[in-house]
């Protein structure tokens, strides 16, 4: 038995702690934000980083200022978890009214009835001008002839290059008229051993975004006329052979194993594409990516860089991606949600985002304005090049198909069997197998 005083002391401490918990609980409850009674409460779902959260909060505050009868609840999810959470919410019928959506997943969601058509809202709104949007992204968010999303931006695939790497070997900077031939020719000069240890320290380029090369050869991946896979065709073989030979015959790009080795040695980022850091690390002289990477490159690159269009194949199939805002079919406030979509994709917000410098406006009028064209942040040519790509591009990075997630997984397996050091499969055979498997998936009605 301890001293009776000690027992009282412990009881006192226990009661104090319990009281503290109650005070904290009360404080927490009191600080929770609450919607005003009598107003429509819209839920707006999007994702990004901490800085983007602050931007989105500013935009929401501005919308509420313009629409005092609508409250917006911002539901912000971190990158990588967004689609997982959205699917959970749709399954549980608790999805937000307006949500962020990308081209690759759009068909999957829309074919399952997740979004509502916007055509009636567009038709009844005289203040909305659909013609002011670049057609490539408007078309990307159409399904069975109806509009389901209004694009917030354009995200063209840019070809970034390290100017100092080109200067070092006296090779002229890449231009918009480059083809695969110029890419390979320059690559032979720019793939270099920099420290004399007989190992390559700087490669020319990593041929990522592989469907681009298929589109550039005239292969649509899925034939729009027959609805079957177009992978077992001469066009597909030309594209895949180029990607393979660039890495394994010409040795102008690192293999998957070499990329993993560079990343492991440098502890580089494993997020997103994972290989994005190879450009600022100086391990590749050129890198294809969209403008979202520009703020990061600007922050970490210790060399001067610029961008141009991706080198063309037999055809100049440039690629544009971009996000849009659809309205969920579950929304109880479609008209208020339309106002939010219109605001988020309208001139004021697009001008604001254009100044931030990591996206290209989806509105022609904003893209032609000084806010975008006279941006001062590097790379110098980004505005001009991006605009050229957006105007002529007809394709998004992946084919638009409701079963694309499944088809993509099949493609990845075949691609990895070709692009490997360990008993690689010949290009022709891999594409034949891929086409067969894709056709099985496409033939399955479920």
């Amino acid at each position: 038995m301890g001293h009776p005083g000690a027992n009282y002391l412990w009881r006192g401490v226990g009661c104090g702690l319990a009281l503290l918990q109650l005070v904290l609980l009360g404080l927490w409850w009191a600080l929770l934000p609450r919607a005003d009674a009598g107003k429509a409460l819209l839920r707006y779902g999007t994702f990004g980083t901490a800085e983007q959260l602050l931007q989105e909060k500013e935009l929401v505050a501005r919308f509420e200022e313009l629409h005092p009868d609508i409250d917006v609840k911002l539901e912000f999810v971190t990158s990588g978890n967004y689609l997982f959470k959205l699917k959970m919410q749709i399954a549980g019928r608790t999805a937000p009214d307006v949500t962020w959506m990308g081209t690759e997943d759009f068909q999957d969601f829309v074919s399952k009835g997740a979004f509502r058509p916007l055509d009636d809202l567009i038709a009844r709104d005289p203040t909305f001008n659909l013609d002011d949007y670049f057609p490539v992204m408007i078309n990307a968010y159409m399904y069975q002839g109806k509009h389901y999303g209004i694009p917030k931006d354009n995200s063209p695939l840019l070809f970034f290059y390290n100017k100092e790497a080109f200067d070092a070997v006296h090779v002229p900077y890449p231009t918009a008229d480059w083809t695969w031939k110029e890419l390979v020719d320059a690559g032979k000069e720019l793939t270099r051993d920099l420290n004399g240890d007989h190992r390559v320290d700087q490669y020319m380029f990593i041929p990522m975004w592989e469907f681009t090369y298929f589109f550039q050869c005239g292969c649509p991946i899925i034939d729009p006329d027959t609805g079957l896979s177009a992978m077992d065709t001469p066009e597909a073989r030309t594209a895949m052979q180029f990607i393979h030979d660039f890495v394994y015959v010409e040795h102008l790009g690192p293999t998957g194993l070499q990329i993993a080795g560079i990343i492991a040695a440098g502890g580089a980022s494993d997020t997103g594409l994972g290989v994005v850091d190879l450009f600022p690390m100086g391990k590749v002289a050129c890198f294809a990516c969209n403008p979202a990477v520009v703020p990061y490159f600007t922050r970490v690159c210790t060399f001067d860089f610029d961008c141009t269009e991706l080198p063309a194949g037999e055809t100049d199939a440039q690629i544009v991606d971009g996000a849009a805002y659809p309205i969920l079919a579950q929304s109880r406030y479609p008209y208020e949600a339309w106002e939010l979509v219109k605001f988020l994709t309208g001139p004021e917000v697009q001008t604001y985002r254009a100044r931030a410098g990591d996206s290209v406006p989806s509105l022609k009028s904003v893209a032609a304005s000084d806010a975008f064209l006279k941006r001062t942040a590097p790379p110098q040519n980004m505005a001009e090049v991006s605009l050229d790509i957006v105007q002529k591009a007809r394709r998004t990075p992946s084919p638009r198909h409701p079963k694309w997630a499944e088809l993509r997984a099949t493609w990845n397996q075949c691609y990895e069997r070709v692009m490997t050091d360990d008993d690689p499969m010949p290009v022709e055979e891999a594409l034949r197998v891929c086409a067969e498997r894709m056709n099985k998936i496409l033939a399955n009605p479920y």
């Binding site: 929770l32 779902g45 901490a50 959260l53 990158s79 978890n81 399954a91 549980g92």
Partner: protein
């Protein structure tokens, strides 16, 4: 003879120490690496192990930046509330259920106990959507209720751990209390619980760390940034193409401090709680 024995012993001791020190170094490297990354400048890409050899350019302001770029004070409070409520519920409910399994006789007891253990074998991903729909029906989405209320039915692992510990407490104590006029609840609260501090503290530590570091639960059930927890805050340092590793590591170090403090404070009890079976009738 004595000298050679002493020499052998000191050599043995040195070997043991060397082994222990090298083991400790191996386990400390990831943490040191984390601290070093937390101190690198914004424009540094190289996060490799070689950083550990160079501690020259240290940016201590990264800690302040990491804590202010997001409302971490709010996330701390939210996480604290969820953790403490869930923890209290789990400890109370689990100990109560464990007492029943350890001391009471009722039909089908062993079968029910096996069913309860079987729930541990189900991965949470399997039950995620049905449970989500259930809580949505209750109107609990975007509240802390799904993260705290289920703890009031106890946790299978905690019940198992406590039941095993309670069974090692001599029944003579219960009998003596029974003769003195204690009812079952009094035996539970005055005899069993005070005798089980190590096991209870073990449950507290496991539960605290699990709830403090939970990402999936808050990710699914919380929608408003004002209700976010620390783990969701940490995830916001990861972007689509890049991660702010320095800020992420700085924030992670601060976030893990309460777990470290709790572990060191309760370390003695924690180890004896894990070593169930030390007390024999």
């Amino acid at each position: 003879m004595q000298t050679s024995t002493k020499t052998i012993r000191s050599v043995q001791r040195t070997c043991v120490w060397l082994l222990l020190v090298s083991g400790a170094v191996v386990f400390a490297i990831p943490f040191l690496w984390m601290v070093r990354i937390a101190l690198v400048p914004d424009d540094q890409i190289d996060m490799g192990l070689r950083l550990l050899a160079d501690w020259s350019d240290m940016r201590y302001m990264n800690f302040a930046t990491a804590m202010t770029v997001q409302p971490f004070h709010r996330y701390f409070l939210n996480t604290y509330i969820i953790t403490i409520l869930g923890l209290c519920g789990e400890v109370l409910a689990s100990s109560f259920v464990a007492y029943g399994f350890a001391r009471k006789q009722f039909p089908g007891k062993n079968m029910i106990f096996i069913f309860m253990l079987a729930t541990m074998m189900l991965p949470p991903q399997v039950t995620m959507i049905p449970v989500f729909i259930l809580f949505r029906t209750f109107g609990w989405v975007d509240t802390i209720l799904p993260l705290t209320v289920p703890s009031l039915s106890g946790a299978a692992f905690s019940i198992f751990l406590l039941r095993q510990f309670f069974m090692t407490i001599p029944r003579d104590y219960d009998d003596a209390a029974d003769i003195d006029g204690c009812n079952s609840f009094q035996i539970y609260s005055r005899i069993i619980l005070p005798s089980s501090k190590p096991a209870l503290l073990t449950v507290v530590i496991f539960s605290f760390i699990g709830r403090w570091n939970d990402l999936l639960g808050p990710l699914i059930y919380l929608n408003s940034p004002d209700k976010y927890t620390l783990q969701l805050g940490l995830m916001a340092f990861r972007g689509l193409y890049s991660t702010q590793w320095n800020l992420l590591m700085a924030a992670s170090i601060v976030v893990m401090l309460p777990c470290l403090v709790l572990f060191f404070v309760a370390q003695r009890y924690f180890i004896s709680g894990i070593l169930i079976g030390g007390l024999k009738e």
